[in-house]
Symmetry: C2
Subunit: 499 residues, 2 copies
């Protein structure tokens, strides 16, 4: 047997695992005791920060996300800390002007971040480039990301082309990100192999969710094709809409020409720690626990389906889900086949609901109109010109072909002034950035911050309030954000949520 | 790409899937509506009968298992019906004399069985041979089974040797049976490849549980090595201590040189049917839902651990589980490294509990003594001679090297007479066999049979009684069977249950 090739592992338990399985509610308090073992287990990196964890910190947990980052840095001095960065959107839901992007990267680097996985929901490299450049400038690891999806336009060659564009930006590594568990074993092999062949020596990290039950096989095939690092979550916070278990990956490789070199005793300690923590968050647990393969047919992530169901029930149209599920692929096609990931999944899904309820493109959400007009960037396919015409007519806006962020004026000083006017603002650039990301939530957080962290897992009252949809400030990340649209003089409320 | 190789699939939902996930409680009533879709989906075979389903039928469901078989036959005229047969034990817990084995095979064949997967818990070919011969004589498909386990004595060569012995018996195919989810991908590849190389053209079926999270990868590797048929369960009754999802297998193979040729629309209908049924059996569901990889270290199946925990708690020694877990591998070694599967798992596990509670081999259970003395057959290794001496001394019995069933007198007439004396006996050979398999349960069943099937999933009262450990006749298959042993004048009660 030839010499073993060592496979790196990114542990997801501190970010995507609890985001996917327990609505991002895990408090820092429930992670700290695992950090020493995580730090010593031998991971390639530890993912611990991203949009939803940042949001949940200030919305539900009264935790300063920057403080959380500093604590991780202190508790895991030997680890590469990794975050997920939504390119020009940073951790928010709009495009930011370049100087804000740069400040964000600088400040997060200063507070301890090492690896930036930078992606764009449309795979538009123009939305990724400036963040990548900022990461390089800060001397940190810039990981260019390919969002994996399936459509008549998506090909292995296309992914290789995007890989090349990301490498041209100076990417230190590439991530193949499969947010909907659509990456089948052969495709995993083909994409990784083709990128490795085209760009020998490139480090490739593979991120899969477990939802469809096949992606541990996909990780095996990706490894056989040359993948260098794969993402997993410790078994006690794994599976379902989450990720493949770290321990299963280790065991899977036994006897093969690949090995992880992780410390198994440490893994068992990490597992035991989170097995004990998990029940505290039972009320936030995903209702999807098994395997869901219908995603392959519909290409609609599970979270998006349950959201659309709830939208339809609110409209007294709970029986029309099937029509909506059939409408989603048509809307996605008209939008040029974007990957379905935040925010494109919400935008496409909500428009599909509108089409079924009020007639096809009789009314567009502001977000869908912007998507059709290029204000989110460019998807792989061209938008349907007929729908673009409707979007122009409805909004009075013209389509753009520029990089969306090029239309923005410098905004740092304005954000700083607005943040400075808020009660509880601490004067730091970090606080300005918190406000910039979540202007609706940050003011309340700044005021409440002195009260200290609130663990919604242990405090039954807080847990109850957070799960009560009528309680103020209790809107779960998984609960709908409501849109109100007037159609033919009749008000229609539609709710969307992150998929 | 070379031509696709078609992979057969055995659907487990009607037997092992609900046995593993819902304590074998699914009523025939809840299966019939899925049978047309199962029959038309294109499976290689449909597993639908075995020891635990037979037992549950007469113990909990007041269903005649022979009637269940005839109904399956009628509802699935195009399918190969498959059963799991415990060799010379048939569906019971003792060895039967050869003519009983032959009768059982004849009668089940007559009632509709097609494929007999014949195994022995010790992998002793002498316990398999007569059942195989009976199946051949009945003109049915005889599948010789290798129980997969891991020990210092188990090697690829050893499995190939056993494969040869099974083929010498006239096996129409071989099954590699991984009851504890211990079969890792590389081992799956190596074992299947070696058997295929040694015996070209041999059909190999692979059966894995999902517990450790790695075995869908093992199925992929087994297929790459030449496996012909793999076992899966429809996704809505899959995962955890159950099996890999059928739909995930289909999707896994897309784009590879292998294909299942299953009808996906039928699979979705089967899935939906059982997704609707599943909640009715919530009170019987396995508490293990996630992935459990510690089995690889301890080699102790999850069900066995929870059973030993309960044994220890009953003795006020709940804190000594760790000692017992460390004792199990030693006891297994002393017994010659048997695979841990019913009944060897219970026998070894209970002895380990005894060793910890009353001192190493200070007292032996009657079953463990018999195991050490050869009355269950021969494991791969020799039993520890010191422990054999203790067994001789305690029981006054001599070790045997003969095939255990050779010691049995013809017993059919006696069984027939005993059965005939029971109230409600219907005069058929099937009833004699029911009595022969479960002499403790059959009498009550024969009496109650006219009342007709009892669905413990739908009838809340029956469900309550069945889950109440104090209710008469309510002993769950997963609940302990109590042994009473007197040590130094002190009575000790120990409970064992099927793992």
């Amino acid at each position: 047997m030839s010499e073993q090739r060592q496979i790196g592992v990114t542990e997801l338990v501190l970010r995507d695992a609890h985001q996917s399985l327990m609505a991002t509610r895990m408090a820092m308090e429930d992670m700290v005791d695992a950090c020493a073992d995580i730090d010593a287990a031998g991971y390639w990196s530890v993912e611990c920060w991203g949009g939803a964890t940042f949001d949940a910190c200030i919305r539900f947990l009264n935790e300063d996300p920057w403080e959380r980052l500093r604590t991780f840095r202190e508790l895991m001095p030997n680890s590469r800390l990794q975050m997920l960065l939504r390119g020009q959107n940073l951790l928010g839901y709009r495009h930011y002007e370049d100087s804000v992007v740069e400040r964000f990267v600088d400040k997060s680097a200063e507070n301890g971040m090492d690896v930036y996985r930078v992606f764009d929901a449309l795979n538009d490299p123009r939305n990724i480039a400036h963040a990548m450049q900022s990461v390089k400038k800060a001397g940190k690891h810039a990981q260019g990301t390919i969002c994996y999806t399936v459509s008549p336009l998506h090909t292995v060659e296309g992914y290789v082309h995007l890989a090349g564009q990301l490498l041209d930006m100076g990417a230190d590594s590439l991530a193949l990100k499969d947010m909907a568990a659509l990456l089948k074993p052969q495709a995993a092999y083909d994409v990784v192999k083709a990128i490795k062949d085209a760009y020998p020596g490139t480090q490739i990290n593979v991120h899969c969710h477990a939802t469809t039950g096949v992606t541990l096989v996909s990780l095996m095939k990706a490894i056989e094709a040359g993948a260098d690092v794969v993402d997993t979550a410790i078994s006690s916070i794994s599976m379902g809409p989450g990720h493949n278990p770290t321990e299963s990956l280790v065991e899977m490789l036994e006897g093969t020409p690949y090995s992880t070199d992780l410390d198994y005793d440490r893994l068992l300690k990490i597992k035991d720690h989170f097995a004990e923590i998990r029940p505290k968050y039972a009320q936030f647990m995903s209702s999807i626990t098994g395997v869901e393969t219908e995603i392959f047919k519909s290409q609609i992530p599970g979270g998006m389906i349950s959201n659309m169901e709830s939208q339809l029930r609110q409209q007294g149209a709970g029986d029309r889900l099937k029509e909506v599920l059939e409408e989603v692929p048509r809307v996605r096609k008209d939008a040029g086949y974007p990957p379905l990931v935040t925010p494109s999944s919400q935008i496409v899904g909500t428009q599909a609901v509108f089409n079924v309820l009020v007639g096809q493109y009789k009314t567009l959400t502001a977000e869908f109109a912007d998507l059709m007009l290029g204000y989110y960037g460019k998807a792989i396919g061209d938008p349907n010109p007929k729908v673009v015409e409707i979007a122009k007519k409805q909004t009075g806006k013209e389509p753009i072909t520029d990089r969306p962020a090029d239309l923005l004026e410098p905004e740092w000083d304005k954000l700083k002034d607005e943040a400075a006017a808020l009660e509880g603002f601490n004067g730091s650039d970090e606080d300005v950035l918190t406000y910039a990301m979540f202007p609706g939530v940050a003011p309340g957080f700044f005021t409440a911050r002195p009260e200290g962290p609130k663990n919604v897992g242990t405090d039954p009252e807080a847990a109850k309030a957070a799960s009560d949809p009528n309680a103020p400030g209790a809107r779960a990340l998984n609960e709908p954000i409501k849109y109100s649209v007037t159609v033919n003089g009749k008000a229609t409320t539609v709710a969307v949520e992150p998929a």
